[in-house]
Symmetry: C2
């Protein structure tokens, strides 16, 4: 099967609060929004933020828990970009989990949550190229 992820859907509890983080904090432009979901066109996939109850009903799964055992990452162009992005996201409803520092595998990274406790790694990883359309390639 194609190595392809079409959508990441994050369960959220408050649409306006989440929108502030993504649309104002990250500065990402929604491609679609209604009273229960907002979609963002990303780098070859779509990010959706959907009210918990609607997502749970669609999955036919109860008891969604936080924090989930996952993280998303947004890589930035320089080491010096990491902490300012974390600080900015914290001002737009996020919470800092880890300020930027250098991991054993190289680069520089920290973590901040969104308002719904989903973790974002903000990282500078010089081994992983990012093209003008945001497509990210693994490298060592």
């Amino acid at each position: 099967m194609q190595q392809q992820i079409s959508v990441i859907t994050l369960g959220i509890r408050d649409l306006a609060r989440s929108r502030r983080f993504y649309a104002d904090g990250f500065g990402w432009k929604p491609v679609f929004e209604n009273s229960e979901i907002i979609f963002y066109q990303m780098n070859g996939l779509v990010l959706g933020t959907w009210l918990d109850e609607a997502l749970a009903k669609d999955m036919q799964r109860d008891g969604l828990a936080r924090p989930g055992a996952f993280a998303l990452a947004h890589n930035v162009a320089t080491r010096e970009d990491v902490d300012p992005v974390i600080d900015r996201l914290a001002r737009f409803g996020g919470r800092v989990l880890r300020r930027g520092d250098a991991p054993p595998h190289g680069g520089f990274r920290g973590y901040v949550t969104d308002p719904d406790d989903h973790a974002w790694e903000i990282a500078w990883n010089p081994a992983w190229p990012i093209d003008a359309e945001g497509h990210v390639r693994f490298g060592v």
Copy 2:
């Protein structure tokens, strides 16, 4: 900031069990693997599967819980592909949450978990084009 997600990292509890689901079930080829993490090059981003303890330590966050309030989606080319993919993933360590049916917004979709209880939507969405490199575009 660039509308870009660089990595999705899923916390896992057993590397071999998870590898079977992704590498054998989905048929995705790892681009890197060691004793605690496997990376897959996806459509403009990277999927990582990382042992829970290592991910939690990196995030400086305890108490990772399941099921998380999120879902990933893998879109397929036809309506008839949905249930066979769900069945196949169930044979490789997944668990069916919802068999394929037609949602109110159109198309056809079901849900299956990976062996670590992370939800995958398997969907046919004729409004969202997917190019040869797997890049997915929102549409209505």
